[in-house]
Amino acid sequence: MNGRFVRLAEQSRPTVQLKVDGMPIEALQGDTLMVALLTQGSALRQSEFDPGRRAGFCLMGACQDCWVWTRSGERLRACSNEVREGLDIVTTQPEAIWPLRG
């Protein structure tokens, strides 16, 4: 499947380059991570409780169904974080990192 989301307007914004699971993708400045990922793919992450793929639900930071991670393990809500040049996103949950372990 190509993108799940369809762009309808505002397409002349400058582009931003980022990586998703190691692959370079191009997004537009002002895109949320969710829009950057779902205009080019059909899902954001794997459900932890069943074989289902998930693509977010509420888009207002309430459902927590759109979590993705940076390469360094920081968890981001894809609906409420904008793309930044050079972001390195992973869509599978990394090992739990305890802050005290350094």
């Binding site: 459900s47 793929r53 693509a55 509420c58 309430a62």
Partner: protein
Amino acid sequence: MATARLSTHRVVVVGAGPAGTRCAETLVAAGFKPILIDENRRDGGQIYRRQPEGFTRDYATLYGTEASKAGDLHQSFDRLRGQIDYRPDTLVWNLTPGQLCCVSQGKHSTVDYDALILCTGATDRLMPIEGWQYAGTYSLGGAQIALKSQAVSIGHRVVFMGSGPLLYLVASQYVKAGAKVAAVLDTSPLSKRIGALPKLLARPGLLFTGMKLLAQLYRAKIPVHLGISPLQVLGDAASGVSGVRVRTARGETLTVECDAVALGYHLRPETQLADLAGCRMRFDEASSQWWLAVDEDGRTSVSGVYAAGDGSKIRGADAAEHAGRLVAMALLEDLQQPVNVGLRDEQRHALAVMDKFRLGLAQSFPWPSAQAKALPDQAIVCRCEMITAGELRRTVSEKGACEVNRAKAFSRVGMGRCQGRYCSQAGAEVIAAAAGVSVQQVGRQRGQAPVKPLSMLTEEVSP
């Protein structure tokens, strides 16, 4: 004396939507400098959400019939910026008497208050349907945010399903923006709307706007079905939504192909912070859900804690602006400050009219509680942790859990990462039906801190 009090009295407003903005504005006019904390990066709340920097659509395109109200609110906020202590991108995740716990960009801090005004808004009210966990099912409000804030459609062929005025508003916004709308499927029958006309006529302009939206959909040849019963979102775990199946008012099975569903049944209030503050709640019979118990002007049952907007009573954005002004005046009055009585009466009068209208809306687009009873056992109630209606029913039949918090402890429905926002009301209906009691009797899910998940990497900042 009065001046000294003003400068030392710490007033915190939570939420920068229509209620929070008008509240802050009224406080500033009275000489206060409130702290305004908002979870969003920009003001406007959900309804008047601003598009990101660099987007160029004008107000008419973005907000349609509500363009001038959105513009007024944003301009009012811009004028306030230097006169308030505005803290965007900040989540209030817990509170104790006199102190809020906040987190912003991974940093935790506390904010002390003497008076707290909660303008926390609402989220979509959801009733599950078999298959709603498939990727491509979005909340109706979410579908609107995609368009308004990001200029995207949630899919190539979108079905709008549920009930309430937002269903028609968002569907028509999608059509206008050039998205492909496959169908609008409303669970409420036309007869309800006709029965509610006397109440809806309290706001003839708004009623007319609603009729215009419907006319636009018909003109665009969008299939609109009233009085449907949702049966299933079709699709599979790997690729997501491929269609919806419903029973029409005439009893026929209708299947509509689509790759996205926008689902919603009007709104539910975000009451967690008020709940943590110990504010009393009350069951609203008309909408069949728990609201915050507030007096006419927005005082909660806890001294020093106030509330306005959809976070206390679901009455919509226009009402939220009036309630925001009114709640600020309630605080002023409680602090023995002068209050513009004429302005206060205007707000009260406007709200009385809107109350009548909202009863008409509740009657026109009823919450479909019977659907919960009819949910097949294999249908998912909790999307977060994939817990079925059957599992929830067994907590009632096998463990005797006839109260929602007890059923939550046994089943985990309401314990997932959305913290019950999208499942607990339907869950309560499932429990009530299984126990053979009213939904009011099974109670409501208690608010828990943190009101949203915090990152393990959150750092404490010393004050």
